[in-house]
């Protein structure tokens, strides 16, 4: 039995006095898609940041494919899409993707390819500052998927996307899962996100209240999880 794609073992995270995460433990196998739910302040972003190597856990740790996140090589397999787009406004789309691409060992051809896929090839050499909101979102998605990540971490990805971008992202996520990638996305019970998920985790004030299969009931009844497993919607 190979190491789980993501293994969180007794993760605690303190910000001063306040425990943002309390003894979070779960295993996620490759190819799964985990929807991370919880109200604002529950610790979703904190957990994602620890998984992405942006923060260190105060106690306990996470292993990605059996390896430490800050070890070289592990991060090459992670794709990150946070609250903000993570792009430089003053650079062009191509320059942005080429810069990040170099960090991940991605070729110029792949970059051009992705610009086509997200329908930005025709404006690839204009600065991102001039893009519409939808275009910026599509470029951010391209940036996250550029290097063919094995683990995708998305922080409330669907909240600020328009219809076209949502469709694009859904297609990419499904394809990624089919290719054996693991996905963790935090969400506020948005149906599209829940549909993508195979597993569900509920965080409340830093504690993991529930971790299990995503059932049909959860899709149809938004309040079900919160009522059943505690925490507030």
């Amino acid at each position: 039995m190979s190491a789980p794609a993501v293994a969180a073992a007794g993760v605690w995270k303190y910000f001063g006095d306040y425990p943002a995460l309390r003894d979070v433990r779960f295993d996620l196998q490759a190819g799964e898609c985990l929807a991370l739910l919880g109200r604002n302040g529950a610790g979703k972003t904190t957990l994602l940041r620890i998984l992405g190597g942006l923060s260190g856990a105060s106690k306990g740790g996470v292993l990605i494919d059996g390896g430490e996140v800050r070890a070289s090589g592990t991060r090459a397999r992670i794709g990150w899409l946070g609250h903000s787009i993570g792009l430089y406004d003053e650079l062009t789309a191509r320059e942005n993707l080429r810069t990040f691409g170099t960090l991940y060992g991605v070729t110029a051809a792949t970059v051009s390819d992705w610009l086509e896929r997200v329908n930005l090839a025709h404006v690839a050499d204009s600065p991102v500052r001039e893009y519409s909101r939808g275009m910026r979102q599509r470029l951010a998605v391209a940036r996250a998927f550029l290097h063919g990540p094995r683990l995708l971490l998305l922080d409330e990805p669907l909240t600020s996307l328009d219809d076209k971008a949502i469709a694009l992202l859904q297609g990419l996520l499904t394809a990624a899962r089919a290719g054996g990638a693991t996905i963790i996305l935090s969400t506020h019970q948005i149906r599209e996100a829940m549909e993508l998920a195979s597993r569900v985790a509920l965080l409340d004030r830093g504690r993991l209240m529930h971790f299990g299969e995503r059932t049909a009931q959860m899709l149809d009844d938004p309040g079900y999880l919160y009522r059943t497993y505690g925490g507030e919607a």
Partner: protein
């Protein structure tokens, strides 16, 4: 080596950004020229005076310019949370630091090279008498500022009073390097004969650079991962 390739990509990105917008360069250059002008009101710069402290004067201007440039270094990663993308990328903290430090060095050195002729004009100094040695010394001093400054830029990037804290923390730590480079620049600027302690200052400056570059590269990862 991958680490150097990453650093080069970061340096190229920073420089490309800066030359595209020219925000930092323009304001820092204007600021430096204004300071040079102000100093001319503070005292009447006779050739003897310039021989005595021309190097020091020049480096005060460069130190102010340096604080402006390095402050921008990590601050430019805050909009759109680009810093998160960089830290979660395969690039190590050391590569991120090194790339940004090199970019700061290039920008600062460029500004210094423009300030030299301006200085020459305002204060009537023929500064090119030992040109290559002068440029070499400027490069050493500039690297000290770029290295320590960029590191502290990373350290203070999330603090409330960043613009104030960065110079306040950076300058005292840089004093050994600034002192050495001021002494060296003073001698070379006006083509004076080298005093007996010239070698001491040079060794100190080089030693400082080696020590703090090593420390910064080694500790960059620690401060970038929260």
């Amino acid at each position: 080596m991958t680490a150097l390739r990453h650093a080069a990509a970061i340096a190229a990105k920073d420089l490309r950004s800066e030359f595209r917008t020219k925000e930092s360069i323009n304001s820092t250059l204007s600021f430096s020229v204004v300071i040079l002008l102000l100093f001319s009101f503070a005292f009447d710069p006779s050739p003897d005076m310039i021989a005595e402290f021309g190097g020091g004067l020049l480096w005060i201007v460069f130190a102010f310019a340096g604080a402006l440039i390095v402050n921008r270094s990590f601050a430019r990663e805050l909009p759109n949370d680009c810093i998160d993308v960089l830290v979660s990328s395969p690039a190590s903290g050391a590569s991120l630091f090194l790339g940004k430090a090199v970019a700061c060095f290039v920008l600062l050195f460029g500004i210094e090279c423009i300030c030299l002729p301006v200085f020459g004009v305002f204060y009537n100094v023929t500064w090119w008498r030992s040109l290559w040695e002068l440029l070499g010394v400027l490069a050493l001093g500039t690297w000290a500022m770029a290295c320590v400054g960029t590191f502290f830029s990373a350290l203070t990037v999330n603090l409330r009073l960043r613009e104030l804290m960065l110079p306040m923390l950076m300058y005292p730590i840089l004093i050994p390097a600034l002192l050495s480079v001021m002494m060296l620049t003073n001698t070379l600027l006006t083509g004076q004969a080298m005093p007996s302690d010239f070698g001491v200052w040079l060794r100190l400056l080089i030693g400082f650079n080696i020590m703090f570059t090593t420390l910064s590269v080694y500790l960059a990862e620690t401060i970038l991962v929260r």
